[in-house]
């Protein structure tokens, strides 16, 4: 009984922290329709800034509170600058590019934080008042956590007053429903958006500063927090503050009690709850169907089979690739193998994103499942390589089919966020489980004796990856591919001619998962090992960048994009330690230069 009470209180304290971050994210999304990937970075900055302020202040509670508020204000200021400098230019861009730009910010902030504060975790020396505890039902409960429990509802109430009792709040709520109409009534949206973004950033900063005494400021905070916040916002309903609090409570209590009951499965549990909520309420607990944000329609380009010239070029490149074992040494062959794996990975994402119309922010999940399936078949079951190469795509495809069942009804940001959350859970399983070797990964997976020669393995990779890519291409030009594209171009029309869009999308989802799984399996045998980083967010973003670089609207785009990006990445990693900073800046520059899509979608008018 006492243990339950303590877990309940722990859960409530966790809910407050979660709510602060999620509230900021949901408020920003509600008005600007931008899913702010850098929201976790603002949380992290809040913690670091609070550390820098608080170590210089006296340890009394009053000073502490002032320092925390100051840190929140500073983060709000950073948020305002971010909105004015970057996001303001992107409100008319496709939402995927907005997400990508904020991911660029995340990368930049990571390296800048490392430069400014160094690689070590920064903990706050805890004065006595912060270490105090209260006796509750015979157990000691940290007093600071009690404080946190109170702060969540307090902030919720303050936000409620702000949004319901002030003109600013009324304008914000009106803009959430129809920002164009608000502008037509004479309200300057840019001021509204900047202040909303600052408020959201300030809440994230406050969350980070308040989390400091219970832990430390560290460089992993941004990604941990953003995943949790995404889940809370999606479960609560995007744009709903009470929904965010409810979902924060649900998730935090689940985590608190999950630790007691199923210590190794908390993240999986979180996903199961999310899937269950979305199965019953597709827009979250208190969310509602979003009116399609105006002017966001993706320009569609005409897609034609390859011209004879392009075909000739493709054949020439293929012939060159086939000649490579006779021309190049083992090192070049291994780099080429990597490029082949990247190409199939990108092509698989493109298949669901381009013709399928489903953008994924967690495509690394399927790649990783394929990679781990192959690795465990080889190390755990001592199976020969062909079995591993078969199990990879099979398991990844099956997992994609199961997951796709829940998500193909969704689209746009919801789908992207759910795929991301799922990938994070696959990552957590790989990271936490003994079976997968945790952080150490699975090592020593080498091709069977017949394929040990780098030239033979390269030839195998060429057959599987180039074959897989061309196979996907062929499917996309088959009746199925056309039906899929029909369902993307005009879903209502597609249904009216007898197609079943949800089923077509599900099939495309599973097919893309299987192809990514094949890429993962080949990659594992090529590298000889697999680590949880195979499933990391940055791996998913790699795939996205490859597709966007090449152009979503073209059929050859992913091939070109994968080869170009693999080259760029290799150069960056070799050239500088600050590759995140460089990559982030390149992403931001690309998105700003081509806000209508890098493929060069036709400029669109400002329409209602």
């Amino acid at each position: 009984m006492d243990a339950i009470l303590i877990q309940l209180l722990t859960g409530l304290a966790g809910a407050s922290s979660l709510f602060l971050v999620a509230a900021g994210l949901t408020v920003i999304f509600g008005v600007t329709r931008v899913v702010n990937f850098a929201h976790g970075s603002l949380f992290m900055l809040g913690a670091y800034i609070a550390w820098s302020i608080l170590v210089h202040l006296p340890r009394a509670p009053g000073w502490h509170a002032a320092g925390v508020l100051l840190a929140a204000l500073a983060t709000a200021g950073i948020g305002a600058l971010l909105e004015i400098g970057l996001l303001r230019r992107l409100y008319r861009a496709p939402e995927l590019l907005q997400l990508l730009a904020t991911f660029g910010v995340l990368l930049v902030v990571q390296d800048l934080t490392l430069l400014l504060w160094g690689p070590n975790d920064l903990a706050l020396p805890r004065p006595s008042w912060l270490r105090g505890s209260v006796a509750i039902a015979g157990a000691r409960f940290p007093a600071y956590d009690l404080l946190l429990i109170g702060i969540g509802p307090l902030v919720l109430a303050a936000l409620w007053l702000l949004f319901s009792r002030t003109r600013w709040g009324t304008l914000v709520r009106a803009a959430t429903q129809d920002r164009e109409m608000v502008a037509a009534l004479g309200v300057d949206q840019s001021v509204l958006f900047t202040t909303v973004f600052a408020l959201g950033a300030g809440l994230a900063g406050l969350g980070g500063a308040l989390a400091l005494p219970d832990g430390s400021a560290n460089l992993q905070m941004d990604l941990t927090v953003i995943t949790d916040a995404f889940v809370v916002v999606v479960v609560g309903g995007m744009g709903s503050l009470p929904g965010a609090y409810l979902a924060a409570l649900l998730i935090a209590l689940l985590q608190a009690f999950g630790v007691m009951l199923l210590p190794n499965a908390t993240l999986v549990l979180m996903f199961v709850v999310m899937a269950a909520v979305l199965a019953v309420r597709p827009h979250g607990l208190l969310g509602r169907a979003l009116a399609p944000a105006r002017g966001e329609a993706q320009a569609t380009a005409l897609i034609r089979p390859a011209s004879p010239a392009l075909r000739g070029l493709g054949l020439a490149v293929l012939a060159l690739a086939m000649a490579a074992p006779f021309l190049a040494g083992p090192f070049v062959l291994s780099v080429l193998t990597e490029a082949l794996v990247a190409m199939l990975f990108a092509a698989s994402l493109h298949a669901m994103m381009g013709p399928g119309g489903m953008a994924s922010f967690g495509h690394a999940a399927w790649f990783g499942i394929g990679a781990y399936a192959a690795a465990l078949a080889a190390k755990g079951l001592l199976m020969p390589m062909p079995v591993g190469l078969l199990l990879g795509p099979l398991l990844a495809g099956a997992a994609a089919l199961a997951f796709g069942w829940f998500v193909v009804r969704l689209s746009g940001v919801y789908l992207a966020m759910l795929t991301l959350a799922f990938a994070q859970i696959v990552w957590a399983v790989a990271f936490q489980s003994d079976l997968t070797g945790g952080d150490n990964g699975v090592l020593g997976i080498w091709p069977d004796a017949w394929a040990q020669d780098p030239r033979v393995f390269y030839a195998l990779a060429l057959v599987l990856c180039a074959g897989g890519t061309l196979g996907l291409r062929r499917v996309l030009f088959s009746p199925f591919g056309y039906a899929l594209r029909a369902a993307r171009d005009a879903p209502a029309r597609a249904e009216a001619i007898g197609l079943w869009p949800a089923r077509l999308r599900l099939a495309a989802f599973a097919l893309a998962g299987a192809a990514a799984g094949l890429a993962g399996a080949v990659g594992t045998y090529s590298k000889g090992s697999v680590f949880p980083t195979t499933i990391s967010i940055s791996r998913s973003v790699d795939a996205l960048l490859m597709v966007l670089l090449g152009g979503v609207q073209t059929m050859s785009g992913p091939i070109v994009g994968a080869l170009a990006y693999t080259g760029l990445y290799d150069v960056l990693i070799r050239a500088t330690d600050l590759w995140r900073l460089c990559l982030g800046l390149i992403i931001i520059a690309l998105v700003l230069a081509f806000p209508q899509g890098i493929a060069g979608a036709a400029a669109r008018d400002r329409t209602a």
């Binding site: 005409l302 009746p479 199925f480 056309y482 005009a490 209502a492 009216a496 001619i497 079943w500 099939a507």
Partner: protein, 246 residues
């Protein structure tokens, strides 16, 4: 002979009765127009018949079979075609490919993952395009067509499944007056020639009075009048709520 019979249709959205007890029937080869002020429930009626919405009460019978609440893809298989108020074509395909996809869907080929799609049903597609006078534009991108051509392409796509009933929601909205009459005259020829039943909504009274065999008038979710052009023109209630004038 009756192609479609709707009886006692009801549909409410959040307490507002959009359609309140509407019944009507369409015969084979009949052009039936549905008119009324905006918000009268025309589009809701269409969605109830076309399977986009499920009625709160009432039945929809197609050729004597109950199709109430079946999804559009099932209705398509039973011979219900539809065009939309906001024109929807497959913008990433050519004009001919738009029709080819519809033909593939009709012949249940869409799970085929091998073989080039643009080789299938080429001649049939061109023949359908010829029916709506679009054959010369077969290889143009559907996304760049002029508005009137889009409407004709939509008609060809809807005809690809050889429908018995065609639902057309504001088929001529946004077209020039001459184009409107030409398009609807074409539909009328098809209807009378093939025994195709057509239900359409329309704001242009020239078109309605010119091509409809029979007219339904809806107001605030209720059917307030039904009859031929002369009867509707003379109806006092219709003049009051919709046509206006003395």
């Amino acid at each position: 002979m009756t192609a479609l019979r709707a009886s006692g249709l009801h549909k409410a959205f959040g307490g507002v009765q959009a359609v309140a007890g509407v019944s009507f029937a369409i015969g084979r080869g009949e052009m039936l127009a549905m008119i009324g002020p905006n918000g009268a429930g025309k589009t809701t009626c269409f969605d109830l018949v076309g399977g986009q919405l499920r009625p709160d009460a009432g039945r929809v019978m197609l050729d004597g079979q109950d199709i109430t609440g079946q999804p559009p893809r099932a209705l398509a298989r039973r011979g219900v075609g539809r065009t939309f108020q906001i024109t929807a074509v497959f913008a990433s395909m050519t004009v001919r490919e738009n029709v080819q996809v519809a033909l593939q869907a009709h012949h249940r080929r869409f799970w085929r993952c091998w073989g080039a799609a643009d080789a299938g049903f080429r001649d049939e597609a061109v023949a359908l395009l010829a029916q709506v006078d679009m054959q010369t534009q077969a290889d143009r991108a559907a996304g760049v067509l002029a508005y009137g051509d889009l409407k004709r392409l939509e008609l060809a796509v809807a005809l690809a499944a050889g429908p018995r009933l065609l639902l057309m929601d504001e088929p001529t909205a946004g077209m020039a007056p001459a184009e409107r009459t030409a398009l609807m005259a074409l539909v009328r020829r098809l209807a009378h020639g093939r025994g195709l039943a057509v239900l359409f909504t329309e704001h242009d009274m020239d078109v309605v009075f010119g091509v409809a065999d029979r007219i339904l008038v809806l107001n605030r979710g209720h059917l307030i009048a039904e009859g031929d052009a002369a009867a509707i023109r003379a109806d006092a209630r219709v003049r009051a709520v919709y046509l206006g004038g003395p």
